[in-house]
């Protein structure tokens, strides 16, 4: 776990007067679960956007797999093996769940607007079916086979989150960026989600960068935690170290030093 898959170097980003990020640097070791926490509006999502290419940092570099990707379009980064989910659901609302996930395979498919329509004549059909098989595996893995044919837009919130995860996995990413994957879920579903994240990290070997407000989850499953506050990197380290930091406790968790006990910790979950 020494080699780092993602390096963020001195990234700054401002929108007009609002400084969303100021000189943030960090490294994500390959194969790890890396969490970003911080108060609302701290710039966590903006950081993810810089990594996945939605935003161009005003300065600084993003290095993915030893390649400087700072100036690449988002779709090129997907080609390189970067997948993500979104804080505000961003599924293709009118497509079936299956098609949503198939879109994730987009960059791995070769048929195009000329060969695709020739379906039986070209090898489009073969290809589609082969990838379909892979997608079915993901569907099984995430236990969403019962809604395979449902239209994504009519699903409940929690299921949509899961479909998003499936779609990101279909990209066959080496790095997956998750923006609040557990928001809006109850305990049980969070447990499921945590299990999926761990499995995809352990079994599929995908590196995970995750933003999450649920401290229980963050503490339990991440290898490293970084704290952002007002666009600046406050600290990073092992989950326990970060939790123990008095500043984090006050500004983020809202816990007064004296009243730390297990009861409180459970409450935060």
């Amino acid at each position: 776990m020494t080699e780092s898959i993602l390096k963020v170097e001195h990234v700054s980003l401002a929108f007009g007067g609002v400084k969303a990020l100021t000189d943030v640097s960090f490294e994500v070791p390959r194969g790890s679960v890396f969490s970003i926490i911080g108060p609302n509006g701290a710039g966590k999502t903006s950081m993810l956007n810089c990594i996945s290419g939605r935003y161009q940092p005003n300065s600084g570099n993003v290095i993915f797999n030893n390649k400087n990707v700072t100036n690449l379009r988002p779709n090129d980064r997907a080609d390189l093996g970067m997948g993500r989910t979104f804080q505000n659901l961003a599924l293709f609302g009118h497509m079936s769940v299956l098609d949503n996930i198939m879109v994730g395979r987009h960059h791995l498919l070769n048929n195009n607007w000329l060969t695709g329509p020739l379906y039986w004549a070209s090898n489009a059909q073969k290809e589609e079916l082969a990838h379909r098989r892979y997608v079915e595996e993901i569907i099984d893995f995430l236990e969403i086979s019962h809604i395979r044919k449902s239209v994504a837009g009519t699903l409940s919130y929690g299921l949509r989150k899961r479909v998003e995860l499936a779609r990101a996995m279909a990209l066959k990413p080496e790095l997956i960026l998750l923006d609040e994957p557990m928001a809006g879920m109850n305990l049980e579903e969070k447990e499921d989600m945590a299990r999926y994240i761990l499995d995809l990290n352990e079994e599929f070997g995908i590196t995970v960068v995750m933003i999450e407000h649920d401290m229980g989850v963050v503490m339990d499953i991440s290898h490293q935690v970084m704290v952002l506050d007002f666009g600046k990197k406050l600290m990073s380290g092992l989950p326990d170290e970060v939790m123990a930091d008095p500043h984090v406790k006050r500004a983020y968790l809202g816990i007064e030093d004296e009243e730390i006990n297990s009861e409180q910790q459970r409450e935060a979950s």
């Binding site: 956007n49 939605r54 804080q87 961003a90």
Partner: protein, 297 residues
């Protein structure tokens, strides 16, 4: 270079453009509150113009009485139309609603032909002097009237959207009808209000055009003709509509100047605005004053 001709053309463009702006404002108003692009806008003009014409010819009212009467009629018409046809469409996909306005345009086009015939008609003389001279160019009085009206309407709109809570409500409705309802905004009232106002203002423009060019069913083409103006200014900007209108008006005339003096391509008057529109949109994808969509994930 024939500077005299050029100045005259530019003045002409300014004045005609202002009228485009007024029609454009109706588009903007409806769009701003309902997200609907009203393809029946031209027919609103037409109906207004015919109603006024009929009140002058058949009822033999004095002009200003007939004018006011038509405006009142059109306000009612707009509200009624909204109630009968557009209200059931609240919450439906915008594109379907736009299609409904196309259906309305087909319907009223035919209805007007049926009632008033297919021959163009002129208004009785309204002003003692039909035209006055402005910097060497003769301009119809009706245009001056429309200029004044346009300015008044514009200021009124501006204040309305800036400072009244109805203005806010209209914008909210346009953004998300469901949320607006959840805030207690009556989507129906907002729609009725904007269609009523749009119909009334359109009628003003229709009457002015009728006085200048005569009334005939093809007056409704104005509904399409002002599209470039509206887009140029930005679909949701009242000020933009006026500015866009003036730019298109001047552009047409300048194009005519170069065409007739040098290029001799013909038809530049009608086509040049579209070329320029494409170029401007390339650099300013939301027109000159339109608000950008929020692109955020």
């Amino acid at each position: 270079m024939n500077f005299e001709l050029l100045t005259q053309l530019i003045i002409n463009g300014l004045i005609v453009g202002l009228l485009y702006g007024v029609i454009g404002m109706c588009f903007v108003l409806v769009y701003k509150s309902t997200q609907i692009v009203n393809f029946a806008q031209g027919e609103f003009l037409l109906i207004g113009a015919w109603v006024c014409w009929a009140s002058l010819i058949y009822l033999e009212l004095p002009f200003f009485l007939g004018f006011i009467l038509s405006l009142v009629f059109m306000a009612g018409f707009g509200v009624l139309l909204q109630m009968i046809v557009l209200r059931p469409m609240i919450g439906e996909p915008i594109i379907s609603v736009i299609m409904v306005t196309i259906g309305l345009s087909i319907f009223f086009q035919a209805l007007m032909k049926w009632i008033f015939g297919v021959s163009p008609q002129s208004y009785p003389q309204v002003f003692d002097d039909q035209s006055i001279s402005l910097l060497g160019l003769n301009i119809e009085m009706a245009y001056l009237m429309s200029t004044v009206i346009a300015l008044i309407i514009m200021v009124a709109f501006y204040l309305f959207f800036k400072h009244s809570k109805h203005g806010l409500a209209m914008r909210a409705t346009a953004f998300d009808q469901q949320v607006s309802q959840s805030l207690g905004i009556s989507v129906k009232h907002v729609f009725a209000m904007s269609w009523g106002i749009a119909a009334t203002v359109s009628a003003t423009a229709g009457i002015v055009l009728g006085m200048v060019n005569g009334v005939s069913d093809s007056l409704s083409i104005m509904g399409i003709k002002v599209f470039p103006a509206v887009i140029l200014g930005g679909l949701d900007s009242i000020v933009g509509a006026i500015v866009g209108g003036i730019i298109i008006g001047v552009l047409e005339n300048v194009a005519e100047f170069f065409d007739s003096q040098y290029l001799h391509i013909g038809n530049m008057y009608d086509i040049a605005p579209f070329y320029v529109l494409l170029i401007i949109l390339w650099f300013k994808p939301y027109g000159l004053f339109g608000t950008k969509d929020i692109e955020r994930i």
